[in-house]
């Protein structure tokens, strides 16, 4: 835990809500509209934090705990990443598994909260969420495996920092494929097109949005912030893989990451305006393709 790692983490935490805004703004720009302000999510969060909450009579304490747990688990997962390109806030050998497990914990909490409401819409969203997670999880592991094989390190702090820069010359093709694969998985995890359309208002076509229909007030603020944080988290992974910045010293490294995040968000916007949302039964194939790409990258490194 160094000062720079904590500072970079704080920076990422503050920038996170800007990322969905930037993606939406890019999409609007490319489709000839003005679009909402980039910092819209900040105002939404502030507004929601000031509001009261309405809870369904069917829900129990699970519903009240879940948003907090989702944000906390994502936050702790972010602590494991070497955001400034050098060291994470905390890390140990084999923390890859903890990273994935913390994300799963957040997902479990939100899904249970959805089922807690006893409504068919939330149940449908929960069902889709866990289904796509079942296809995305092996993909995430395969991407991390490629990094393990390329760098020979077993901790995120090791995999995404200096050793990765050293591995780039020899393992470039695999790492590029992993970058693409991680980008696709990020689209799935954060419910962007082509997996889910964040701008749709038809509940039957939603995945993540419909799962959190019943949250209100500060809970909804936490959920929205958690979504933005996940986007930042995966974006950091993509930036860490594609743009190894460990050679730079600390503040420059943090700046590179933030700029990279903004670039990723813009890239998401571009993808959203270029592609249409996939049919629901095509999404597993899409995710399997991304996983297969990562698997192929792994085989390249083994051979």
């Amino acid at each position: 835990m160094t000062v720079s790692s904590v500072a970079t983490l704080a920076a990422v935490l503050s920038v996170a809500p800007a990322l969905p805004g930037l993606a939406n703004r890019t999409k609007s720009f490319l489709t000839g509209r003005r679009g909402a302000p980039v910092l819209q999510l900040y105002s939404d969060l502030a507004k929601l934090a000031r509001k009261g909450a309405v809870y369904s009579g069917t829900t129990t304490s699970v519903f009240r705990v879940a948003p907090v747990l989702a944000v906390v688990s994502t936050l702790l997962a972010a602590c494991l990443l070497p955001l400034d390109g050098r060291e994470p806030v905390a890390g140990f050998t084999g923390d890859i598994v903890l990273f994935a497990a913390l994300l799963a914990l957040g997902r479990f909490a939100v899904v249970l909260a959805a089922l807690d409401t006893g409504s068919s819409f939330e149940g449908m969203g929960a069902s889709r969420e866990v289904t796509f997670a079942a296809f995305a999880e092996p993909g995430l592991f395969l991407c991390l495996l490629v990094l393990v094989l390329a760098t020979g390190r077993l901790s995120l702090g090791g995999m995404l920092a200096a050793p990765l820069a050293n591995a780039w010359p020899t393992a470039a093709p695999s790492l590029v494929m992993v970058g693409i694969s991680l980008f696709v998985l990020m689209l799935a995890e954060t419910s962007r097109v082509p997996v889910d359309d964040p701008a749709t208002h038809l509940e039957l076509t939603m995945i993540h949005e419909v799962m959190v229909l019943d949250h209100s007030g500060p809970d909804l603020a936490l959920i929205l912030y958690g979504g933005a944080l996940k986007l930042a988290l995966f974006g950091s992974l993509v930036v860490g893989v594609l743009v190894p910045h460990s050679a730079l010293d600390a503040p420059a490294g943090g700046a590179v990451l933030v700029v990279g995040l903004l670039g990723v968000a813009a890239g998401v916007g571009v993808v959203e305006s270029v592609m249409a949302r996939l049919r629901l039964d095509r999404v597993p194939q899409f995710l399997i393709t991304a996983s297969a790409l990562a698997g192929f990258a792994a085989i390249l490194l083994l051979g």
Partner: protein, 657 residues
């Protein structure tokens, strides 16, 4: 060892007291609970001593049977398993007292208590046996006592059928074990494990026959695919505490057998390691897929046992591969992960079954789609079930995460090794898939059974069960949390057991193991951090909401003003996308009509493979019926013909005079 046998004797005494004093139920029940609990504690003392670093203890008893003396002993591996068996066994036995209390009078409840005591004792003896004959005797006693407990509710055809299939399966496995020890023991002076280990290097083909027979014999008991077919029926049909004992403990004896086999043989060949790894992956993925399709709560949990056995076998396979490719770190971590998951699974799976038993007792049904909203009516059961669900999915800060983490370490370290071992790293993706599917399944179970609102009347009428059933469940849940937050308590002993199996002395000297020990402390820290952060977050939220208007209303559900209980998502719908995506493997049979839609989950191995080939065998055998005419003289004719044929053969083949 004296304490060990004294503890077992106390447990047995508790069983006998339950039978002898059955006319006075409260006294009998209390005495049973006290004696079993005391016996477990006393019996666990030598095991704890061994695990804490004491030397191996053993005792040898000469018996008038062939095969040498019966040796019982506790080395780190045996001690670990004995601890698990005694601890979880005692909790389940105590639960059983309250669970069966309502059935006194029309079922042989006292006898069931005695059988449970005998089961725990035989399990401990299986783990402590250090001679083949003693091992097999304890094994058979365990299998038969388990059968008697499975058919406890004998008036139900489901229970009888499940018991029959279980009996056939377990005896097939035991037969394989007999052949195993017979072929091994011919070369040895007697059948004690020490003698068998001494002749192990002389086995032909590197012990291939022994390894394959062991995989079959122990695999049937453990329930690895495709030898698992007896498991769902038997675990679903038996009383809940028996299901807990079977899923939590009895199937682990198969794993114990495999570990003991490896420790006696030395490092197994690579092909066996790959086979175990593949079987583990198949069991894990298929087990959870089949679980997703189930409508019956206990059958679903039984299939999850198959899945977790798959995870344990992943660890075991990595251990074998590490030994075969001479990477000691992978070997030690693989076996350690397997052993740790044995313990953790025993704890959270028995907790899940006890919870399912409470639900079944309170509502009278095991069908998931008839339940709902039980979290309000049965809060303690819900809390413990939630803890167990999170544990089985492998979420921090609970114990399931710790053991899956160790298995992951073995897989990942294979990736940084050299040679063909690196291929095994794809198993990590497989384990990730298993985890994600398990999350889906338990989100389904928790959400549909406990959350939302009651779907049928029997769920609405449920009441929380009594303290007799709650106390063991709370104890097991606390164990889940404790192991998750303080994994150093169990990792040291597990590493010693894993080192024993891997045949590696001085494991703390290995660099990878030292890193793992450090990492385990970090995991403990992360668990504490997670709980602390969660607590902090909840306090902040409460502080913020105190000054805001908070209201309670109907579920919004997109503004639909009149939500109905029947509009809730059913379990089948929840699992439908996943089940349909894996349709060929899932063994789900769909019945559609103009007005209805029903899915039936069939076990593919049992229904499609075994029963079908059994049917064909029967028709073939039926073609032989004309030989059996029921007439005496025809049978005598067969005898005459055979005698004459034999005489002629002897004459033709024998020396001419």
């Amino acid at each position: 060892m004296a304490f060990f046998f004294a503890g077992l004797a106390l447990i047995l005494a508790g069983g006998f007291v339950a039978v002898l004093a059955r006319r006075a139920p409260p006294v009998a029940d209390h005495l049973f609970v006290v004696l079993v609990g005391l016996g477990s504690v006393v019996g666990a003392v030598p095991a704890l001593r061994v695990l804490a670093g004491g030397g191996v203890v053993s005792v040898s008893v000469a018996v008038a049977l062939p095969g040498g003396p019966w040796v019982f002993g506790l080395d780190p591996l045996s001690a670990f398993f004995v601890l698990v068996f005694l601890g979880v066994g005692a909790a389940s036995a105590m639960y059983g007292v309250a669970y069966l209390g309502a059935e006194r009078g029309h079922r042989p409840v006292a006898l069931a208590h005695l059988l449970v005591a005998m089961l725990i004792v035989s399990l401990a003896l299986v783990a402590a046996a250090q001679a083949a004959v003693a091992f097999l005797v304890a094994w058979e006693v365990m299998a038969i006592v388990a059968y008697l407990l499975v058919v406890f509710e004998s008036e139900r055809a489901e229970a009888r059928r499940a018991g029959l299939i279980y009996l056939v399966a377990t005896h097939t496995g035991t037969l394989a074990l007999f052949v195993l020890f017979a072929t091994w023991g011919v070369r040895a002076s007697d059948l004690t494990f020490a003698s068998l280990a001494a002749v192990a290097p002389a086995l032909p083909y590197g012990g291939a026959a022994v390894l394959v027979l062991g995989l079959v014999g122990f695999g049937v008991k453990a329930g690895l695919v495709p030898l698992h077919f007896w498991l769902p029926g038997a675990h679903a049909a038996s009383p809940s505490h028996v299901s807990a004992l079977m899923s939590g403990l009895v199937i682990k004896t198969g794993i114990y057998g495999l570990l003991r086999l490896v420790s006696l043989l030395g490092a197994p060949p690579a092909w066996w390691g790959w086979a175990v790894l593949a079987l583990g992956l198949a069991s894990g993925v298929l087990g959870v897929l089949w679980a997703l399709a189930q409508h019956d709560l206990k059958r679903l949990l039984a299939y999850h046992s198959v899945e977790n056995i798959g995870i344990i076998l992943l660890g075991l396979g990595m251990g074998a591969l590490g030994g075969a490719y001479h990477v000691p770190v992978v070997a030690v971590l693989g076996y350690t992960g397997a052993v740790l998951h044995v313990m953790n699974h025993a704890v959270f799976k028995s907790l899940l079954f006890l919870g399912a038993g409470s639900v079944a007792r309170a509502t009278g049904t095991r069908q998931i789609d008839r339940l709902g909203g039980l979290s309000r009516l049965m809060p303690v059961t819900w809390l413990t079930f939630l803890v167990a669900s999170a544990a089985i999915v492998g979420l921090p800060p609970l114990n399931g995460f710790v053991s899956e983490w160790v298995v992951f370490q073995a897989l990942l370290r294979a990736g940084v090794a050299q040679g063909p071992l690196r291929l095994a790293v794809f198993g990590a993706a497989g384990l990730g898939l298993i985890g994600a599917l398990a999350l889906a399944c338990f989100a389904k179970v928790d959400g549909v059974v406990f959350l939302g609102r009651a779907r049928e009347a029997e769920a609405a009428a449920a009441r929380e069960v009594g303290a007799g059933m709650l106390v063991p469940m709370i104890a097991l849940a606390l164990a889940c949390v404790l192991i998750g937050v303080a994994p150093v308590l169990v990792c040291g002993p597990a590493l010693r057991a894993g080192g024993l199996v891997a045949g590696v002395g001085g494991i703390s000297g290995l660099a990878g193991v030292a890193e793992t020990v450090v990492a385990v402390r970090w995991i403990a820290g992360s668990a504490v951090a997670l709980i602390a952060a969660l607590g902090l977050g909840l306090l902040l939220r409460a502080a913020i909401l105190r000054r805001r208007p908070v209201a309670v209303d109907e579920t919004w559900g997109c503004g639909y003003a009149v939500p109905n209980v029947r509009m809730q998502y059913t379990a089948s719908s929840f699992a439908a996308p996943l089940v349909e995506a894996y349709a060929p493997l899932a063994g789900v049979h769909v019945e559609r009509s103009a007005t209805s839609y029903a899915t039936h989950a069939r076990d593919p191995v049992l229904e499609l493979a075994l029963l079908r080939s059994w049917g064909r065998l029967r028709t073939l055998a039926g073609r032989l019926r004309p030989i059996q005419r029921g007439r005496l003289h025809v049978y005598l004719l067969y005898v005459v013909a055979t005698v004459i044929a034999l005489l002629v053969y002897l004459a033709a083949a024998g020396p001419a005079r």
